[in-house]
Structure formats: C-alpha cells, structure tokens
C-alpha cells in the first residue's frame, strides 16, 4: 500500500467518529479510508477461507465515491459478516473498479451506523489527496 504515503488518524468528535485520511491517489485513499473505518470498528478478521469479490461503483463526484465505497463495506459487514483487507482498486474519473479480498469478521467492538457526507471534501495537498470523513455511531 505504501504505508508511509497513505494513512489515517482518528479526530475528536463529540458523539460520532471522524477520520482524517491521506493517500497519493484516489484508489489508495479509498483503501486507507476502509482500513481506518475497520480500525474504528475494531474489526478482527477470522482465519480460514478467504473470498474475493469484484467491485464496481460510479458516482457524480469523488466524495460520493468515498461514501458509496465505505457504505458498501458496511453493508457487506452486516449482510455477510465479512470484512476486507486486500484491495486491488482502480479509479478513473468517478468510477471505481477492482476487487477486494477478505474473510469473516471474528470480532468487532463498535457499530458504525452510516458514513456521512458531513463537511466531506477530497482535497489535493502535499501528501497527495486528503479528506475527513464523519461516521454516525
């Protein structure tokens, strides 16, 4: 992933959770945001059989792409009990294609109800791309 170029950190928020995320590219930003979100949730993956799935999303802007991608992962977490730790993503414009790989969730410490658009902006900075995303918990 190029960990030194991508990353995330939790910010203070009164009642919910907020992540700052940075990465050199949009695809890497999506991956970093996913890892950050799973980190907030305290997700631990089980061993055993892994599954890969294709992913394809298209939105009107990159902020919506970030929300839709994370919302997809939240849905899969509850509907299938799975989380993902391998990301092979490609972003062209506002279209995401690729594959994600993961396995069953062994344990989790926090529920995230939703990804929000609150003050969401993907900005170009010296670190590449940066954003802050707020989650409803």
């Amino acid at each position: 992933m190029g960990e030194s170029m991508s990353g995330f950190s939790e910010l203070e928020h009164t009642a919910d959770c907020e992540l700052e995320v940075w990465a050199p590219t949009m695809a890497a930003l999506l991956e970093a945001a996913a890892r950050g979100m799973y980190g907030l949730m305290g997700v631990e993956l089980a061993g055993g059989a892994r599954r890969s799935r294709l992913i394809e999303l298209e939105t009107a802007d990159r902020e919506a792409l970030l929300v839709d991608f994370l919302a997809e992962l939240l849905y899969l977490g509850e509907a299938e009990g799975r989380a993902y730790d391998v990301f092979d993503l490609e972003v062209s414009g506002h279209r995401l294609t690729g594959a994600i790989g993961g396995t069953l969730i062994a344990s989790q410490t926090k529920e995230i109800k939703a990804v929000t658009y609150h003050r969401l902006l993907v900005r170009e900075t010296d670190r590449g791309l940066e954003t802050r995303v707020v989650f409803d918990v």
Binding site: A15, K113, Y117, H118, D136
Partner: protein
C-alpha cells in the same frame, strides 16, 4: 468557536440567533439553554449546524435547539425544524440514520426494597432475554412478507401476535403506527438487514435500564401514569436498527442528485432534501414511516421479552409483577403536524433529531387518561445518573413546536472518554453504587460514562424554566444492560 454576540436573550432560558446573522438563513434559531450549557457548546459546531438547518427551503417559524444539544453531522443533535408547503422540503439527515430511535418506559408496583436481593438476577435475565450487541440477530427471523406487515402495522403487528396490550399501543406515540408507510419505497438492502433484527437492542448508546422512582413531583400525573415512589421501572432505548440506517443511507445517497434537479443549494450535503410533495419526497416519507413502525414494533417485542424476564427473575418477591406501559416516544422522526406559526395554524413537517414530541394538555391523539395532563416526555440521563419523566405543556406548543429535549447530550468525545475512563473501573464504581451492570463491551461502556454527558438535571431545569415541560418524577438507575 461560536460568537456569543450573535445570541440575543429573549427569555429566562431562551436565546435567539436572528435570521439576519447569515444571508442564507430563512428563519431564526431559538435556543433553550442556561449560560452554563451555552458555554459547553461554544466550541463545537452545534449552533452553526442549527443555522445551517435554518437554510432548509420552506423552513417556517424557528429552528429550535434543546438544552441537551451537541454537534451532529449536518443537523444538530437536539434540533427541531419545521417546513411547510409550498416549497417546503423533507431532509433525511434532519431526522437521522436511526429512524425512530426512541424510548419506552414501563412501570411496576414492585418495591425496590422487595426486589433488591434479586436485582443482579434481574439484570442477567434482561441481558439474556433481550438480544443486544454488535451484529446481533434476534429470535425472530422474518420473511419479506412479514417484514412488510411489521412496516405497515408497527406496534399493532406485535399486538396481533399477543405481544402487546391495548394500553401498550394507546400509550405509544401515534398509537405505535404511522400511517402512510409503503414497503415499496424500501430498498432491497434495507429489507435484508431488517429481516433478522426485529427484537434486538443493538449496541452503542442503546440500553435497557431498571430504575426506581426516586421522587415524585406531580402526584396526580404520576398516579395517572402508574409511577409510585420506591417502585421499579424499566426503560428501553433503541431504534430501527440496520433497517432504518440503510433506509436513511439509501435516501441521503439518492437525494444528492435530487437537490440538483430541484435547484436546491445547501451549506452541508448531509442536509440534502426533496420537496415534500415531490415523488422523491413522498417516497422517503413512505420509507421513513416503515422504519418508524419497525422501531415501534422493535421496542414492543423487547418490552414483551423484558416483561417475561422481570416476572421470572422477581418471582415470589411481590404479588403483582406486572410491567405496565407509561409511554413510548421517538426522538428521531419526521412528522406531519398542525402548529400555529406566525399567527396561522398550518400543517408542517416537523423534523426532530435528538428531540422529542411534547404535546400539551388537550391533544386528541393522547389516550383519554393523559389528555388533561399532557403527553409524557421521557428524558433518559446517562448511565448511572438520573432519568426524568416530564409532561408537555401549552408552552411547548406555543414556543417549541410541541417539542422537548431527549436526554443528557454528550460533552466528551468517545475517543476522549475511552482515553480517560477505564471501562472495568467504571463498571466496579457503578456496582459499588448499587447499579448492576451487564455490558457487552467495556470500551463501549467507557464511551457511555456519565462523565461524557451533560448534567441531565440541569437540562431538565432549563426546559422547566422555559415552560416547555413540567416535572413528574425522577428515576434512579439500579441496573443497566448494554450491548
């Protein structure tokens, strides 16, 4: 930091931010707060978010901010905003992801003194009976047809199964069922999430609490509600679970394009909306009502489980182990109501997020025994502190769109709470104070520590001083069950 010079004092605990403060505000903001509570929110975005809410198209009257307010992610938690036709909108984000998150209070004639030796067993029994925690499925696995019935009938669905009494549904806001729910407006993901989740508490700040009526302030109202000093009550706090979360997610997503189609500009994308009378607005309202009815049914099923656990754990401790319903209210909801606004009685869409309905005396929609008294208002405090039972007043109707606060409101971030409070230590401290704790997660418990919340007694003093509610009883927790 909010500039306090923008606040104009208009009453004992009432302040106004005039609409002239910002060009895009359509209505002023009215804040119910003490000076101390204002200081607590100065450094967060609560009041800025209230001003953002005042930009919603068709906003009428005032945006109201309750004393338990804290910043949300678009609309403030503890906020109320009304919109009206023509031009008025409905905003899913101004209602919340947990549609019809709310509270139900049940009361008994079981004296704490008689039940004390069995309270640990009661806490364990409630924990075992009421599925809670992350990703927890319930004992009910509904097919789509049954889920549709739940969405249509709400609490009445449970009554049809023998899990609710006539009094239960009568003593629930909207009789436990919003008309106008349409399952066709609910997407497949929400349906998939809702099917296994009916009868579950969830996690986070959802809980079941056993409390004792510590002090009665209004003997007549307490008698009408069946609240007796020294007797136990059970409070259930939860909502529409993943079903509601997904509905809101789906509509906030689709409304990102809807606002462009209707030429609506907003200061925050979480406030996206659709005209009330548009197909999109009608679809969201229909889906929201499904989630609201799901939540009413959810709390009814949990009440049914809680009643069984209560009777089993306290068997032999008292002659009458009945848990009767006091009331059930929502604190995340959008409702069509009639209110007097600017001298005219009009129909409005009232968005309440972290705020409850608090109708005053005379409201026909209350059960007959509550009509002269006013609607019960349930205000849970943080875990380990008090909860309150209030009633709505004419003042609430006149100055607060028939609304009131919903709880204590957070002051400390979850991150700070986990850093500064040890869940295990907190658990022991609560137990030392006589509060039995059953928690699925100690870090989760730390996040919900009393120190992370405002003083609920102060919040209640503000709404009473402002004349939008009256005190009936103060409840003290003796057992807490958390996911």
């Amino acid at each position: 930091m909010f500039d306090l010079n923008q606040l104009r004092r208009i009453g004992r605990c009432e302040w106004e931010i005039p609409a002239s403060v910002r060009d895009d505000m359509r209505v002023p903001v009215r804040l119910f707060a003490s000076r101390k509570l204002i200081e607590e929110i100065r450094n967060d975005a609560s009041l800025e978010q209230a001003m953002n809410a005042a930009t919603l198209p068709g906003a009428v009257g005032e945006v109201l901010v309750m004393p338990d307010v804290h910043q949300g992610y678009g609309f403030p938690i503890g906020g109320v905003a009304a919109t009206a036709l023509p031009g008025g909108v409905i905003s899913p984000g101004a209602i919340g992801y947990d549609i019809n998150c709310g509270v139900r209070l049940l009361a008994s004639r079981v004296a704490l003194d008689d039940a004390e030796p069995a309270l640990g067993d009661l806490a364990s029994a409630l924990d075992a009976a009421c599925p809670s925690g992350l990703g927890q499925s319930g004992r009910l696995q509904l097919d789509h047809r049954e889920l549709e019935r739940v969405c249509r009938d709400g609490g009445h669905w449970a009554k049809g199964r023998g899990w609710a009494t006539e009094s239960d549904v009568a003593r629930t806001e909207e009789d436990g069922r919003l008309d106008g729910a349409d399952f066709a407006a609910v997407g497949p993901r929400a349906r998939n999430r809702g099917r296994p989740q009916l009868g579950t508490l969830g996690a986070g700040n959802h809980f079941i609490e056993v409390e004792v009526v510590e002090r009665v302030y209004d003997r007549s109202a307490a008698r009408t509600m069946g609240l007796e000093e020294g007797c136990l009550t059970v409070l259930i706090h939860c909502g529409s679970r993943g079903f509601g979360h997904q509905i809101c997610t789906d509509y906030v997503k689709s409304f990102q394009g809807v606002v462009k189609r209707y030429g609506i500009r907003l200061p925050d994308r979480e406030l996206v909306c659709a005209p009330l009378d548009s197909p999109e607005g009608q679809d969201y309202q229909a889906a929201m009502r499904c989630a609201a009815n799901f939540a009413f049914a959810n709390r009814q099923v949990l009440a049914h489980y809680a009643r069984d656990a209560f009777a089993e754990a306290l068997r032999g401790r008292a002659r009458d182990l009945t848990l009767h319903q006091v009331y059930d209210i929502a604190h995340n909801m959008g409702k069509t109501e009639e209110h007097e606004v600017d001298g005219r009685r009009i129909k409005v869409c009232v968005h309440r997020k972290g705020a409850t309905r608090a109708f005053g005396p005379g409201f026909e929609g209350l059960p007959p025994e509550y009509r002269t008294m006013g609607q019960p208002v349930l205000v849970p405090g943080s875990m380990g502190t008090a909860s309150w039972v209030l009633v709505g007043t004419e003042g609430s109707m006149e100055r607060a769109l028939g609304s009131c606060c919903h709880g204590a409101g957070r002051t400390m971030s979850r991150r700070q709470a986990k850093r500064s409070i040890h869940g295990g230590t907190l658990c022991r401290e609560l137990e030392d104070r006589g509060i039995r704790v059953r928690a699925g997660s100690l870090p989760g418990l730390a996040e919900e520590a009393p120190a992370a919340y405002k003083d609920v007694d102060e919040v209640v003093e503000v709404v009473v001083a402002a004349g939008i509610a009256r005190k009936v009883a103060r409840l003290r927790p003796v057992a807490v069950v958390k996911g």
